[in-house]
C-alpha cells in the first residue's frame, strides 16, 4: 500500500513537472503568445462580422444573438486548437528541441506525461478563451444580462476531458510521421468541428454527418455553452449535454492512451523515437 502511494506521489510530481516546463516555456515565449492572441482575435472578428454582414444585406435576424452564436463557435474552435496544439507538441516540440529521448526514458508513465500537457493546455486554453470572449464581446458591445457563465465554464471543463482524450490520439501522429504528423492534428480539429455545428445548427448537415455529430463532444459543448450564455440555462437543465460529454470523455481517455501506447511501441520498434525521427 505504501509502495503504491509512493509510486502515485512520484507520478503526480512528474505530471507537475510537465506543467512546470510549459509554464517556463510560456514565460519565455510570452511575446509570441501575445502576437498569436492578436491573430486569434482578428480571425474571430472576421467570423463574427458575418452576423453584421447578413443584417446589412437585408437578412432578418436577431443580430446580437447571431453574433454571440458565432462568437461562441469561434472561441470553442480556438480553445480546441490550443488543446490539440499542446498535446500534439508533446512529441513534436520535444523532437525539435532534441529532448524527446530524455523525456521518454524518464520513469514517468505516459498517462501522467500526457496528463501534464493536458492539464496545462486546459488551464492555458481557458485563460485564452475567456480573454478572447471578453475582447470580442466588448468590441461588438454585446450584453449578457441573462447569461449563466458558471454553467458555460463547467460545460467547457467537462468537454475538455473528451478533447484531451482525442488530443492524445492526435499526439501520436508526430511519433509515426515526424515530418507531417503535427499538421495532421489540425485536420482532426477541423473534422471534429465541421460535424459539431461550430457556426451553424447541426440540423443543416447531411444526415450521415449528423450521426457523426452525435459522437462528437464538441456538439454537446457548443450546444450547452450556447444555451448557458444565450438563454441563461442552469446546469441542471443542461444535463442532456453533460452526460454525453461524461460518457464520451470516459471512452476517449483510455482510447487515447491505448492509441498513443501503440504509436510509442511502433516508434520504438522502427527507431523513430529520436530527435531526427
Amino acid at each position: 500500500m505504501r509502495a503504491v502511494a509512493l509510486e502515485l506521489k512520484h507520478e503526480l510530481i512528474g505530471l507537475a513537472g510537465v506543467v512546470e516546463r510549459n509554464v517556463y516555456l510560456t514565460r519565455r515565449y510570452i511575446y509570441w503568445d501575445l502576437a498569436f492572441f492578436v491573430w486569434t482575435v482578428a480571425n474571430t472578428l472576421t467570423i463574427v462580422f458575418i452576423a453584421k454582414g447578413i443584417e446589412a444585406s437585408g437578412g432578418n435576424i436577431d443580430v446580437d444573438r447571431a453574433t454571440t452564436t458565432l462568437l461562441i463557435g469561434a472561441v470553442v474552435w480556438a480553445y480546441l486548437g490550443i488543446i490539440f496544439e499542446f498535446l500534439t507538441e508533446t512529441v513534436a516540440w520535444e523532437r525539435w528541441e532534441g529532448t524527446i529521448e530524455y523525456t521518454f526514458m524518464a520513469p514517468l508513465s505516459r498517462a501522467m506525461h500526457l496528463g501534464g500537457s493536458g492539464v496545462f493546455a486546459v488551464l492555458y486554453g481557458l485563460v485564452r478563451a475567456i480573454l478572447l470572449f471578453i475582447v470580442v464581446a466588448a468590441f461588438f458591445g454585446l450584453a449578457f444580462d441573462d447569461a449563466n457563465f458558471t454553467a458555460a465554464l463547467v460545460i467547457l471543463i467537462v468537454a475538455s476531458v473528451s478533447f484531451f482524450g482525442i488530443g492524445m490520439m492526435t499526439a501520436v501522429l508526430p511519433l509515426i510521421s515526424p515530418e507531417k504528423g503535427a499538421q495532421l492534428g489540425f485536420v482532426a480539429q477541423g473534422m471534429l468541428l465541421v460535424v459539431s455545428g461550430v457556426y451553424y445548427p447541426v440540423e443543416v448537415l447531411p444526415e450521415w454527418m449528423q450521426w457523426l455529430a452525435k459522437i462528437s463532444p464538441a456538439t454537446y459543448a457548443l450546444d450547452g455553452i450556447r444555451a448557458a450564455i444565450l438563454d441563461g440555462a442552469s446546469l441542471g437543465s443542461l444535463w442532456h449535454d453533460i452526460w454525453p460529454l461524461l460518457v464520451i470523455g470516459a471512452a476517449c481517455i483510455p482510447l487515447g492512451l491505448l492509441i498513443f501506447g501503440r504509436g510509442e511501441i511502433y516508434a520504438k520498434r522502427h527507431g523513430k523515437l529520436k530527435r531526427s525521427g
Binding site: G14, G17, E20, E101, Y102, M105, L108, K268, R275
Partner: protein
Amino acid sequence: MKAVEVHKLRKEFVRKDGRKRVHVEALRGLTFDMERGECIAVLGQNGSGKSTLVRLLSTLLLPDGGTARVFGYDVVREDKAVRRLVNRVSVEASFFKKMSPAENLHYAARFYGMTLSETSGRIPEILARVGFPPDRRTEPMENLSRGMQQKVALARALLTSPVLLLLDEPTTGLDPRSKLEVQGFIREMRAVHDSTILLCTHDLAEAEALAERVGILDRGRLLALETANELKARFEAETLEEAFFAATGRGFDDEHDELDAEERKVLA
C-alpha cells in the same frame, strides 16, 4: 547480480531504397556483461551500432531478438524499473534552448519524482560541482557554449543518481579543456557514486584512460571486449588504434566504405 547482461541482442532497421525495403542490421547478436561499478568503453565507427546499443539499454528501442537486463530488470518487460536506474549523456546536449540550465534541470528532476524542496538546494550544488558558473544559471541554454551545455547535461544525469550511466560520445566536439573537465567528472561519478558506466566513444585515449575494458564494435558485431593491454597484446599492436585496425581491417577514422555510408543513413 550483474549491472548489465546483454545476450544475443539483435536490432535491425528498415529503410526504403526506391520501391524496395532494405533491412539493415544494426546489432548482430551482441553478448556481454558488466559488473557493478565497472566502466567499459565501446569503440566503433559511425554506424557501428554504438548509439543503437545505448538506446536499447535506455528503453528507447525495442530489440528484434535477444535480451538485455539492467540490474536484473528486462529492458522490454520491466522498462519502468530500468528507467529509474539509468540516465545518459549524449553527444548532443539536448535541452529546451530558450529555458535556462536551472529551469531545464528543475523540470527534468520532477520526472524522477523529485520535489521542489529537493531540487532547489541540490541543483545549485550539482551545477557548482560540474564547474558551472553561478551567474549563468538563469541564462537561456542557447547562449551557452557547447562545453557549458555538456556540463549541464552531466548535471542532469547526476541529479537523478543513476546506477547505470550511458555516455554516448560525451566529449565529441569539446575543446581540450572542457574534455578534460568532463572526463574528470566521469571519474568522480564512479568514485563517489559507484556508478556503472558504458562509454561509447571515438576517442581512443579517452577509452584507455577511463575504462577497465574496451570493446570493439564493428557493423553491429562486438569483436572484442578486453582490457586495453589485452587487446593490444592479442592483436600484437603498439596502440589501441592499431588494435582497432587489426580487429576490423579498417582504420578508426575510415568512413568511406560504401556499406558504412549506407548504414549511417539509417543508424546515424
